[in-house]
Amino acid sequence: MEYLGVLMTTSIAAAEENAYDRPIAWTPELSVGVPEIDADHKVLIELISQINLAADLPEAYTIVGTVLAALSDYTEYHFIREERMQQVVGFPTAEAHHQCHQILGQQVQHYLALYTANPDAVDTQDLFRFLQRWLFEHILKEDMQYVPYCANNPKASEAVIAIGAEFFIDSDVGLF
């Protein structure tokens, strides 16, 4: 949490300069009290950390490209789960939260399109810093607001679990 403490308080610019070299990980301070949502956040943190790990490797294109695509798919999935949960528990500022999700979703789509068209157009260090900062700030500021409504609330978990892996299944993917 020391790293997050630095990042979130006095010296964001200084922290950002060094953030690229630091591992990122989920810590209990990030818990929103809903195990399924915490698990989603761990996946997002792990995906973002893999941009950092792969950035300078020869295979960076396939890895960063796949991470961005995974982030696009997974943020969409996670946001739907989280917003459904907020709806079920009657979270009063759900609409404002939805707007935050919309903005990030558009930004991820933008980076994905940019990277797909030309990987050299995206600075992976900037991408990593942006995603890392956005996710941690979003969890610690916006997500923590729904904790009183959702933490240890069985209805919250039920709402999240109701949206499972079938979310990812389409009918238009060709096979051999």
Binding site: V64, G65, A69, D73
Partner: protein
């Protein structure tokens, strides 16, 4: 087929790609993923431990994905059921796809890929009839063209 019930073996000599595939599989509910960094060890492993599905890199030192698939079809599929194999590759040329298909791969996914694409490949591969037919045996026994 439930993703949480699947046991998947990831065969790839790139540790970062193995970790990424593992993360993506975890993100959709798969809870038993084993990683191996070469085809020979994977071949030895599946003689004792049968995963439900293999995700195999196309380009690897030693046994590549296509040769690995041929070896699985000739050495492992003795019970008449095909072990499902999806080839993962950075190449998208048609001849490579045909080579993988002829070797007996069930499907093929090109990197970079989306989570939805991978999930759909897995879902459809697992929902197919995986019984090994005589036509399969003959096609896979003939020389690659």
């Amino acid at each position: 087929m439930k993703f949480e019930d699947l046991r998947i073996l990831v065969v790839d000599d790139n540790v970062n790609m193995r970790r990424l595939i593992n993360t993506i599989l975890y993100s959709v509910g798969v809870r038993e993923v084993v990683e191996v960094d070469n085809g020979a060890d994977a071949l030895a492993m599946i003689k004792d431990w049968k995963p439900d599905l293999l995700l195999v890199d196309y380009v690897m030192d030693g046994l590549d994905g296509v040769e690995f698939t041929r070896r699985v079809r000739s050495e492992i599929d003795s019970s008449g059921t095909r072990l499902p194999i999806i080839i993962v590759t950075g190449y998208s040329e048609l001849w490579r796809l045909n080579e993988a298909k002829k070797a007996g791969a069930n499907d093929f996914i090109v990197k970079p890929f989306t989570t939805k694409a991978l999930v759909n490949r897995i879902q459809r591969t697992m929902s197919r009839d995986l019984t090994l037919t005589e036509a399969d045996r003959q096609a896979e026994a003939s020389p690659a063209s």
